[in-house]
């Protein structure tokens, strides 16, 4: 019996959420009284596997194959499936990344299991894990229990476990060569690219005024722009606003946009879906203005005003101007 943590790397570079998942593996394997195994899938990943082995775990598997060089759903599913069948873990943990969302559900299906995705906490009850996950865009939490023969699969949201709790150790590295068949890999991947050089670098901004669905119409954006101007702040937006073309994509904050940590982040009419929160919760001070007192954005806000933004923002502009003299 073991807990297996599957770390993520791309082109020899770690996805930093991997380490948080490592911590989860250390804590849960200790509570379950089983070994922790860690897998690093890829090609030419010896150095990374050796680095993983400096953290506390029983064994690191370098899941090494040239067909794992570029990520594809089919190759990664087959490779990790092979390792699971060979090592028979009780619980398999992943970071909740875009890549994991692409292949881990497929993998779980091969074991007639469901990937418990987007998990924010795990607790042990009577020897079996209870997963806490977000529901309804973060408005509610749900406790999920898994049954059946296992193994159980879960992907952990960023911030669910603290990376500074990672314990060091010295583990053995074992190379696992999965049986992969090039003709069974249906996806042909091209090199990743960015749309254009980023014209707007929000990461340097001291104050960010960010707008969400609460703005209702494109024509209303200037209401918030007034505030940004008064504060000397950069404008940003949540994904739906950029999707609708009301603000340029390059001003998007969140998992698919920029990650920012300004001195002040003002979230205006933003409900606070997790995809947005991961992009801004590192801000020093968070201000939320929203008409819904139950909006998840208030979970992370230091200061809040519950009210109609079309009344609050003009009042705020006036007060800021007054304060600046």
């Amino acid at each position: 019996m073991s807990v297996l943590v599957v770390l993520e790397q791309t082109g020899g570079k770690w996805n930093r959420m991997s380490w948080e998942t490592f911590v989860a593996g250390q804590q849960l394997s200790a509570e379950m009284g089983v070994d922790l195994h860690v897998a690093v899938p890829g090609s030419g990943i010896g150095v990374l596997a050796a680095e993983a082995a400096t953290k506390k775990c029983a064994k690191v598997y370098a899941v090494e194959h040239e067909l794992l060089k570029d990520y594809t759903a089919d190759a990664y599913t087959a490779a990790v499936e092979g390792l699971i069948r060979a090592t028979n873990p009780a619980l398999v943990l992943f970071p909740h990344t875009y890549q994991v969302r692409d292949f881990a559900p497929k993998l779980a299906t091969r074991f007639s299991q469901v990937l418990i995705s987007d998990v924010i906490a795990v607790r042990m009850e009577a020897g079996s894990p209870v997963f806490v996950r977000l529901l309804f865009q973060g408005k509610l939490n749900g406790d999920v229990r898994v049954s059946g023969g296992g193994p159980y699969f879960a992907s952990l949201q960023a911030g669910a476990f603290r990376v500074d709790a990672l314990e060091v150790g010295s583990a053995v590295v074992e190379t696992f060569t999965p049986a992969l068949d090039a003709s069974a890999i249906r996806q042909k991947a091209e090199a990743p690219f960015r749309e254009s050089a980023r014209a707007v670098d929000l990461t340097a901004a001291e104050i960010i005024v960010s707008v969400g669905r609460g703005i209702k119409e494109k024509e209303n954006i200037p209401v918030v722009e007034e505030l940004a101007k008064a504060l000397g702040a950069e404008m940003a937006a949540s994904r739906p606003i950029c999707d609708a073309g009301w603000m340029p994509m390059e001003r998007q904050v969140g998992s698919s946009g920029q990650t920012v940590s300004p001195k002040v982040y003002m979230a205006i009419g933003i409900s606070g879906a997790i995809q947005h929160l991961v992009g801004m919760k590192g801000a020093k001070t968070i201000v939320a203005i929203n008409k819904d007192a139950n909006a998840p954005i208030f979970e992370v806000a230091d200061y809040g005003i519950v009210g109609d933004l079309f009344e609050v923002i003009p009042a705020l502009v006036e007060e800021v101007k007054k304060a600046k003299g």
């Binding site: 969302r101 497929k106 749900g142 406790d143 999920v144 898994v146 990743p192 998840p296 006036e318």
Partner: protein, 253 residues
């Protein structure tokens, strides 16, 4: 090209949710199409306009889902398959259970492409499409921002983190999960709404539902870990208090 679009009906976005048992109280809620699924439907309609063929809306849900299915037909889907579950089923079934229902109901259709939203706004597991592909034994790709059909294959633009993208080519049939914002949504026309009334909705009643392996035991409002200072009063008063904080404590004004 035969395209199936799997859509889900979810509570409208700004609903006030009340917990009831291990689910929410649904009786006083309104429902609408899951937003990413609306983009998947639009993408299917645009692919049909470009390449010809047929768009079939597929929806698992209780009787109330008929309204969402009709709206998909009004926007231009040619026909629909409604896997009718009881009210309780969809909150107790796990994704594997739902995907099995969907897989059973589309097998005989032999579609070239199955599109669905990348995740649902209610449960948010974000995997029904991928599981469906695995059950059908076909390829999949997720979080898609562009779809091109070329010589019996498809080339898609997959979104990655931090503004990165990647093109992936794969053979058809395939399942794609569509990201919000991939296209511009259309409205149903009056003519469309009229036509929808005579379009076929094939009703499938699942014989037996297997037990879920993943069960929601309890749902609840998240406990707040952070102390948020809420400024009360009318807009002017609240604004004044906030500016005072920003000036004298946060010191950014």
């Amino acid at each position: 090209m035969k395209i199936i679009v799997a859509i889900k009906q979810v509570p409208v976005r700004d609903s006030q949710l009340r917990v009831e048992g291990a689910w929410i109280q649904e009786s006083d809620l309104s429902f609408e199409i899951n937003e990413p699924d609306a983009y998947a439907l639009e993408e299917a309609l645009q692919l049909k306009e470009k390449h010809g063929g047929e768009v079939i809306a597929l929806c698992a849900g209780p009787a109330r889902a008929t309204q969402t299915i009709r709206e998909a037909l009004a926007k231009g889907a040619d026909r629909a398959i409604h896997v009718e579950t009881s009210e309780e089923n969809l909150s107790t079934l796990d994704t594997l259970g739902v995907a099995r229902l969907l897989a059973d109901s589309v097998k005989a259709e032999n579609p070239d492409l199955i599109l669905t939203g990348l995740q649902s706004d209610d449960l948010g597991y974000g995997q029904t499409g991928v599981v469906l592909a695995e059950l059908l034994g076909i390829a999949s790709s997720t979080i898609i921002m562009q779809v091109e059909v070329k010589d019996g294959a498809i080339r898609v633009k997959r979104e990655m983190e931090d503004g990165w993208f990647q093109h992936i080519t794969m053979p058809m049939p395939a399942v794609l999960t569509i990201q919000s914002g991939i296209n511009k949504l259309r409205y149903a026309t009056l003519m469309g709404i009229k036509k929808a009334k005579s379009k076929e909705i094939r009703l499938v009643k699942p014989a037996e539902l297997g037990a879920a392996t993943a069960k929601i035991e309890k749902i609840y409002v998240p406990q707040k870990n952070k102390q948020t200072q809420i400024f009360e009063g009318d807009a002017k008063q609240a604004a004044a208090k906030l500016v005072e904080k920003l000036k004298f404590e946060v010191r950014v004004i």
